[in-house]
């Protein structure tokens, strides 16, 4: 791999990273929003190193043994050719367990206002399982997420949650009753009330909190797909 090629590969990768972080919001499909400055910084460093390498010549160029650097083009191929979207129903269907750390039962503030309460799916699940005061009881809530089909024509309104990047994502699912399933992976706003569970202890296996749906609206996918 010649020095010119090395420089071009570095600049190409840096350009791709800048493209998804500086000039669009597609980086949100992969990492947390707060990560943007680091991505922009890394992209700039790569571009600067690449461009500088094109202009600064060295007397003794030992451009050997960097074949592995060709692999740096692979993320660029993935970004440009596949344009990977946010994780959707394929990943959600494979994600295990209703996997939230247990929350402190006293930590839930009472729900304010009279109308439907907009709420992250994760908060709904937390209140459904862990809230001693059962603040969800009788309240109309509105959840935004994408559609994952369940058995017997039912479906989950779903949000993926990431801690760091999409590799550690897990699904937050709420089973929706009483509404016909929209197409898989479409984004919806679903209005409804919590169906209190009848068991006292959490049973083994997978259980999801349930929502008796009353209203459904199709919405565009949000810029921040993860919770």
């Amino acid at each position: 791999m010649s020095r010119v090629t090395q420089s071009l590969v570095l600049a190409l990768l840096g350009g791709a990273v800048l493209w998804i972080s500086g000039f669009s919001t597609s980086y949100l499909n992969y990492v947390k929003p707060g990560f943007r400055p680091f991505l922009v910084g890394a992209g700039i460093v790569l571009v600067v190193l690449g461009v500088a390498g094109l202009f600064i010549r060295r007397k003794h160029d030992h451009a050997h043994g960097h074949g592995v650097a060709w692999l740096l083009c692979l993320p660029v191929f993935a970004i440009l050719l596949v344009a990977p979207p946010a994780l959707g129903s394929f990943a959600a269907a494979r994600s295990q367990a209703p996997a939230l750390p247990r929350q402190d039962p006293g930590s839930f503030a009472p729900l304010a206002g009279g109308g439907p309460v907009d709420m992250p799916v994760g908060e709904f699940i937390g209140r459904a399982w862990d809230d001693d005061r059962k603040s969800l009881t009788g309240r109309v809530v509105r959840l935004t997420g994408f559609v994952v089909p369940a058995r017997r024509g039912e479906w989950y309104v779903t949000r993926m949650q990431i801690a760091c990047c999409a590799a550690d994502a897990f699904a937050l699912k709420v089973l929706v009753r009483g509404l016909k399933a929209p197409p898989r992976d479409s984004w919806v706003e679903v209005t409804g009330t919590w169906v209190p569970h009848t068991f006292g202890r959490m049973p083994n296996g997978l259980v999801y909190p349930e929502l008796a749906g009353t209203g459904l609206a199709r919405v565009p996918a949000p810029a921040e797909p993860y919770e």
Partner: protein, 335 residues
């Protein structure tokens, strides 16, 4: 060779002798990549829509994109160590006796707030600067596991279980120091490829840039290897298998340890993943947290690229075995 100037600088009318070989060759390979990208974008993109492929690509890009800033940071720090910090600093900062330098270097890992992608180039830079390899290795293993960012993330992921943080710190540091001492006792110099950044021409800044370029091209390539493997496993291994295994106590620890290797999650995020595996006992989760920052697919690829294969085939199994044993010990006593 070509004398003091390379082919492109020649101002003669005829193409220089070096045309088509040596350093001034036109970048045909890169031109081919660009053509592939443009043609692929126009023709292939509409067909690359299978959910499995897209999920795989999302995870692959996510691992690369998440790790890249840390790698750049680590490489910049490593290059700074070699270009700006005089070698005499390390001989003064670390105890003269190697056996004492190992735990000190391990503890020093607590101040580098990065994940494992940053620690490999930094450890390599330390060795290039004359730090005894055993101490640099202790630093390499300890720093991704016991730095403040990771410990805070662990505390957040395990609310009400401070012992998990204590055990993670203690077990990780113990494994790092033990591995360093083992290397001191049984390691051989010829297994380890110690990179030499020190030579080079130009001023300090030019050397700094060259060291960064070199490390980025090299370590970056291996990072991509690791990301490919991690994304493939992430999509290919059904998660139901895990639930089935989690219930069997003697199987849970090794399974979580192997999982930490395969999933290759950043040490800043792994606590959240471990906490979400509700089916597993606490000791198995601890093993996941101790093994992950020390041994995982992208790290193995990075280490093989940086320190050589002869080193990696010995270092990785020893570290893995120690990490599992120490985790079981800490988990059994404290959790």
């Amino acid at each position: 060779m070509f004398g003091s100037r390379s082919g492109w600088d020649d101002e003669g009318v005829l193409p220089p002798d070096s045309w088509g070989r040596g350093t001034s060759r036109l970048p045909w390979g890169f031109a081919f990549v660009v053509v592939l990208l443009v043609v692929g974008r126009l023709t292939l993109t509409p067909h690359l829509t299978s959910p499995a492929l897209r999920t795989w690509a999302t995870v692959f890009v996510a691992v690369c994109v998440q790790a890249l800033p840390f790698l750049v940071f680590g490489v910049a720090l490593s290059a700074a160590i070699t270009a700006f910090v005089p070698a005499s600093f390390w001989t003064r900062a670390l105890p003269r006796r190697p056996a004492a330098a190992v735990p000190v270097a391990g503890l020093a890992g607590a101040v580098l707030p990065g994940c494992e992608c940053a620690s490999v180039p930094v450890a390599s830079g330390l060795m290039a600067r004359g730090v005894t390899p055993a101490a640099a290795l202790a630093f390499l293993l300890a720093s991704p596991a016991i730095n403040p960012v990771v410990l805070v993330a662990t505390a957040v992921a395990f609310p009400g279980q401070p012992m998990m943080v204590v055990c993670r710190f203690g077990a990780s540091l113990a494994v790092a120091v033990l591995t360093g001492w083992l290397w001191l006792r049984y390691g051989r110099r010829e297994w380890l490829r110690v990179p030499s950044h020190a030579h080079g021409e130009g001023g300090r800044l030019a050397r700094y840039g060259e060291a960064m370029r070199h490390d980025l091209l090299h370590a970056g390539g291996f990072l991509v290897v690791g990301a490919l493997a991690a994304a493939t496993l992430n999509v290919a291994v059904p998660r139901e298998w895990l639930d089935a295994v989690g219930g069997v106590p003697w199987l849970a620890v090794p399974v979580m340890a192997v999982l930490a290797v395969l999933l290759s999650i950043c040490s800043e995020a792994d606590a959240f993943v471990a906490a979400s595996m509700t089916a597993f006992p606490a000791t198995a989760k601890l093993a996941f947290l101790v093994v992950g920052p020390m041994v995982d697919l992208k790290l193995i690829a990075l280490q093989a690229g940086t320190f050589g294969r002869a080193f990696t085939v010995r270092f990785v199994p020893v570290t893995f075995a120690l990490a599992v044993l120490v985790s079981v010990l800490f988990g059994g006593l404290l959790l």
